[in-house]
Homo-oligomer: 84 residues x 2
């Protein structure tokens, strides 16, 4: 694997696992006041579209990264809707 | 442009402009308490790596989407660091 590919994988992993601390923090504190509902909703929809795009162009990296990403950002959106 | 390409562009635009409401909300309220510093830091680093990856593979869509994205997530990170 080339250095450029490694960089792309590092970017994909970081922009996916980065949602874990926010999910844990929100579950623990039940505090979502400073999160923007519009941002979280548009992000969830956008990541969902990336997932569909990955399926249509048959790209495993796009599917896996955005599939995992979708689960986490949708969870944070659900917590925002619940706690306000 | 095919429907699949349109879907990809819609995904790229949504996952970029979605950061505007969070940036405006944070600037207005100065409230960053429920934002995770680790998430915002890792997201900013990850989007920065996507930008470098886009430059290395010479992909204008990756460069433009992640360039705009980087400005917004780095701004939100700076607000988080400032307001705590």
């Amino acid at each position: 694997m080339s250095g450029t590919e490694l960089l792309g994988f590092a970017a994909a992993i970081l922009t996916t696992v980065c949602w874990l601390p926010q999910a844990f923090k929100t579950i623990r504190t039940k505090d979502t006041r400073s999160l923007s509902l519009v941002t979280q909703g548009a992000l969830t929809l956008g990541v969902g579209l990336w997932l569909v795009y990955g399926i249509l162009v048959d790209s495993p990296p796009i599917i896996f990264a955005n599939g995992a990403n979708f689960v986490l950002v949708a969870l944070i959106l659900a917590l925002k809707v619940r706690y306000g």
